[in-house]
């Protein structure tokens, strides 16, 4: 069922900008239109590009904020989230916790 909804209506997560738009809903309580416009402006892409996996794969590569395919020496977890927090101008809880732990 997850797959059905994901294909029918989902943005696509890390394949696109779905995780980034989700973060704006979660951190700022933005509705979908506002969240998409905010992320698009931060990524310097159009709103329609946000759900395009071809465009977003290049954008994510350039910004090093995580891509689906496993490649050497690219951001894969907490490192990607450090960059995402800075890119979107939001606080990410686990990033802040990580910073506290390595002080």
């Amino acid at each position: 069922m997850h797959i059905t909804h994901s294909i029918a209506s989902g943005m696509g997560g890390m394949r696109t900008a779905g995780d980034l738009v989700a973060r704006m809903q979660m951190s700022r309580g933005m509705k979908i239109k506002e969240a998409k416009e905010y992320v698009a402006s931060k990524l310097k892409v159009s709103v329609s590009d946000l759900a395009d996996p071809v465009v977003m794969n290049e954008v994510r590569e350039d910004l090093d904020i995580g891509r689906v395919n496993a490649l050497p020496r690219v951001a894969k977890g907490i490192d990607a989230k450090f960059r995402i927090a800075e890119l979107l101008g939001i606080e990410i809880n686990c990033v802040n916790q990580f910073k506290d732990r390595i002080k």
Binding site: M1, H2, I3, T4, H5, S6, I7, A8, S9, G10, M11, G12, G13, M14, R15, G18, D19, V21, A22, R23, Q25, M26, S27, G29, M30, K31, I32, A35, V47, S48, A51, I65, G66, V68, A75, K76, G77, I78, A80, K81, I84, E91, I92, N93, C94, Q97, F98
Partner: protein, 348 residues
């Protein structure tokens, strides 16, 4: 006249004429509108739904550009439930890399806050590890599940046994006691997981045990939000109608029993909920068209009355999805498209 291949609310196949589907759509939206005193779907909306059910394609999807965010209840338990032996961490990586998840959720196999509190000592390290190696936002979720606080599983007398005996005041008193235990557990688990780095906490199937269940969750949300103002809290409901198992409980002066989604969200917002998930139960005696029209009617009113994102529940048996262990793609994708495009959702 050509028949339309569709399904009933229990997933069984049925072939209906166009006029029968149209009638079901009208009756479904009318049922919701009359019950909740909200607008029924417009003629344009009904026509779009009719075209959706007339479409012979197995799977349908939203128009390009209308994609929304998906959040998942009890994400990591789903793999084990179908006997696929992967760890929680592996489940999350599958969601992240292979299922296109916009958000993810980890939860205890016994997906309620009461049992989850006993295993925080192992949940937290696994969760912290997951946060290091994944990228999408990660929730920790469970159900308030007030019923677990009744004997023999919990400390309180069972109101379901007291009510048939006519012991109304005793039944109310025990539910008030259950609320205290549940709030404590929800705040305990929510606090620990947020301190482990959670992006959000999810309360799934809120109000499953009625108005006491709803009140307990609202109170827990309020406490957590005061403790951690930045915490994202998702509240997913269990049904379109708050059952008055107690009958006299209020929150912020509003009686909880009898509330429909467009009123439930108002209280959720006041408590501090970030994302609200209305749930509309599927009627297995009616067609999917009837159920979808009804669910979209309730949901659309909820969206229009909300200042926070709305992620409608569209799992098995809710939101118009049939009540069957393996929900068919044709039904689920139609619910998905209808809810997003006509319901104007922010997510599912």
């Amino acid at each position: 006249m050509q028949k339309i291949y569709t399904r009933m609310g229990d997933g069984s196949v049925v072939e209906l004429s166009e006029s029968e589907v149209r009638q079901d759509l009208e009756e479904g939206t009318k049922d919701a509108a009359e019950r909740a005193k909200i607008p029924s779907l417009s003629e344009d909306d009904l026509q779009r739904l009719l075209e959706l059910y007339k479409c012979p394609d197995k799977s349908v999807g939203v128009e390009k550009g209308k994609e929304v965010i998906l959040s998942y209840d009890s994400g990591t338990t789903k793999f084990n439930r179908v006997n696929v032996s992967v760890s929680k961490l592996q489940s999350l990586q599958i969601y992240e890399r292979m299922l296109g998840a916009d958000t993810m959720e980890m939860g205890h196999m016994d997906y309620s806050y009461k049992p989850a509190k006993n295993i925080m000592w192992i949940e937290q390290p696994v969760f912290e590890q997951a946060l290091l190696v994944t990228i999408p936002p990660l929730f920790y979720g469970a159900m308030p599940n007030l019923g677990l606080y009744t004997q023999p599983d919990g400390p309180c007398l069972n109101p379901m046994e007291l009510l048939p005996q006519g012991k109304i005041s005793e039944a109310r008193a025990t539910q008030e006691e259950m609320i205290e235990h549940a709030v404590r557990d929800m705040v305990y688990v929510g606090s620990l997981m947020y301190e482990s780095g959670a992006d959000g906490i999810n309360f799934d199937t809120t109000a499953a045990a009625g108005d006491a269940d709803f009140l307990a969750t609202l109170r827990a949300v309020e406490i957590l939000k005061k403790k951690y103002p930045q915490m994202c809290i998702e509240m997913g409901m269990s049904g379109e109608f708050i059952l008055g198992m107690h009958g006299e409980l209020t929150y912020d002066g509003v009686k909880l029993a009898g509330l429909y989604p467009h009123k439930q969200v108002e209280l959720a917002e006041k408590a501090g909920v970030t994302i609200f998930g209305p749930a509309v139960n599927t009627n297995t005696n009616e067609s999917c068209a009837w159920n979808t029209a009804r669910a979209v009617t309730f949901t659309k009113a909820c969206v229009e009355n909300s200042n926070i994102p709305i992620h409608a529940n569209v799992g098995m048996g809710v939101g118009g999805v049939p009540v069957t262990e393996t929900p068919p793609v044709d039904s689920v994708s139609r619910v998905s498209k209808a809810m997003v495009e006509i319901g104007r959702l922010d997510g599912l």
